[in-house]
Amino acid sequence: MVSRQDLATVGYQTGRVLWGIAALMVIPVVVAIASREWAVVADFLTGMGVALVGGSALVILCRRPSGRVTWTQGMLTAGVSWLVAMVVCAIPSWLSGHYGSFGDACFDVMSGFTTTGLVLIQDLDHVSDGLNTWRHLLSYLGGQGMIVLALTFLARGLPGGYKLYVGEGKDERLLPSVVHTARAIWVISVVYLGLGTLVLGLVAWHEGMPPYRAFLHGMWVFMAAWSTGGFAPHTQNILFYHSAPFEVAAMVFFVLGSFNFGLHHAVWTGNRRELVRNLELQAFAATSVTLSLLVAGVLSARGVYRATVDLFRKAVFQVLSAHTTTGFMTVYPTQIPGQWGDLALVGLTLAMILGGSASSTAGGFKGVRVGLAAKTLVHEVRRLLVPESALVVTRFHFFRDFTLEDRHVRGALFIMGLYSVTFVVAATATVAAGYPVAHSLFEAASATGNVGLTVGVTSPAMPWYLKALYVVVMWAGRLEFMAVLVLLGYAVYRRRLV
């Protein structure tokens, strides 16, 4: 079923991925040297060494493949290389001593790659600048990388739809269009990296941090914001800074980061009207405003926060953090169930499930699907109201104008269904492990939607099987189940052919 040639290609590509990782480790090494963290330098050199040795061994053993990369090879590479990358990237993290086990380090690395933001790291307030740089870098780069990967599968896909490429296009080219798109994504991300680090760094400096610290925190928090990851250099997350301007700047960048890269590209090439006409943004605006009102209303009614500023910095911040699936927090995890109450918790859970935009680092159902679901509702109601012979046409705009068709609806509802099933499985497992139901629903939504908000379930004390399940759930959710399904579908279809 899988030929030696396939394995060779997968091995070769994985080897090159490892080379890439070795190169990336230079960045935390530079920061560690600048901060005089010599032991950290050794940790990363060790990781680099493993990546170089492993990568080169694979490249040497698996000769350069002839011909184009096929779908099988692409899929397998996706699965294998991310796992191998996770293990290798976890090496310097584990060597730092901040993790209870190598598995915990792998959890955090996968959390970074999938831009989730749930952490098992211990004693975060004493973590080195080098390791903090690595954590945030993994989130920033992992976010981009995962998008490129997802686009690889969606190369001939439909907006919001889904198509099983089973047995189809075995010899189709994978690389060229992906390279082109990846380049565009990188340009946008790098420009914002510069802008974001500058803005957040200046704010941090203004708020009382010396320049070098301000720069580091600015860069780290930007990377976490843009990638909608939610990592932060301290246990208090964004609450550490006690700064309204810093929170607002972070919000701007994490909302921007949750946008569809197609949207950035459209706006940057002159199509600014897309900001208003786009179905996805319309859906996101509607649901986020509604949920913000709900949570703010609840918290105000309960007397938790009364002032406008408080409601904005707490209720709105957390709702947007949840909805964009970023995961930044300006309150302690225990405050949400303990002080905010169940209705606010439900509101946040809903926000997490709805999610951000497609083709972005955000997770959840995604705005385009929510929008399509809403359009479908409108369509069905209209059909009921007109005579049976009449033709009802519903339109929507998503970068270009579409007429709502069954395939759009089917695709959207299918993926929403898969998310829901995954969410239910994760929630049930969490309850089975002994956590309260509301907490379990919240945490499961956070893992499935790659959010990162936590009420405290995710911790080093979590049972190992729950940690492992969350790793799988984070990965599956991030790739929108495509890799999982295509692998399954391919296996089934091929078996039937033979």
């Binding site: 080379w19 070795a22 901060s35 005089r36 963290e37 010599w38 032991a39 950290v40 050794a42 940790d43 050199l45 060790t46 680099m48 060494g49 493993v50 990546a51 170089l52 040795v53 990568g55 080169s56 061994a57 490249v59 040497i60 000769r63 350069r64 211990q122 004693d123 307030d125 004493h126 973590v127 600048d129 708020e207 009382g208 941090m209 010396p210 610290r213 301290h234 246990t235 208090q236 609450l239 550490f240 800074y241 006690h242 700064s243 309204a244 938790v304 926060y305 009364r306 002032a307 500023v309 408080d310 409601l311 910095r313 707490k314 309150v331 302690y332 225990t334 405050q335 303990g338 002080q339």
Partner: protein, 184 residues
């Protein structure tokens, strides 16, 4: 002093429960046993850790407490006041203190050093109206209990050996791999 002790023990108990607590405390004190509540800090305020506060914000809301922990991260000056985040390894609480605290506390802890261990007394807010709803502690008194010190991160030479060895081997293999590619 007895009254102060008992008041400190009450944590917001009321009526008959308070009476019971008083009686129980009296009995236990008489029996020479430790008090059934937190140790007491300045002015009878209970001594708490950041984890205590973060876990039960409503319980401590509006209470005078003495927070004990390590100064972590950068201390941020905001005009006449500073933010000192006091941590315990699991979490940390923001302390809003007059700038003169800087004369007593050293730089915050991180990778390179352990920060000063402090005991800060003040009112805890679950949602501070002055600070955008932040859970924080407004300090009225403080003392440095233990000065911070540098943290040792000396790696045994064999760790450096492994690192160098792996990188060396890796570079050699990479050269071989790229060399092969060029030839092949």
């Amino acid at each position: 002093m007895m009254v102060q002790l008992l008041r400190g023990c009450q944590h917001g108990l009321s009526g008959p429960t308070a009476l019971l607590a008083v009686l129980l405390t009296a009995v236990l004190l008489g029996a020479g046993m430790p008090l059934p509540c937190h140790a007491l800090g300045r002015g009878g305020a209970p001594v708490v850790t950041p984890s205590d506060l973060a876990a039960e914000v409503r319980r401590y809301d509006g209470q005078q407490v003495t927070l004990r922990g390590e100064v972590i991260g950068t201390v941020m000056r905001r005009g006449e006041y500073v933010w000192v985040n006091v941590g315990d390894g699991s979490t940390a609480v923001g302390v809003w203190a007059p700038a003169r605290i800087l004369e007593e506390i050293g730089p915050g802890g991180g990778y390179a050093r352990e920060g000063d261990t402090v005991e800060v007394t003040g009112t805890f807010h679950a949602a501070c109206p002055l600070h955008g709803g932040d859970p924080d502690l407004h300090a009225v008194a403080w003392q440095v209990v233990e000065k911070g010190r540098a943290r040792e991160h000396r790696l045994p030479p064999w760790r450096w050996g492994i690192a160098a060895g792996l990188v060396g081997a890796g570079l050699v293999l990479t050269a071989a791999a790229t060399g092969l590619a060029r030839r092949g």
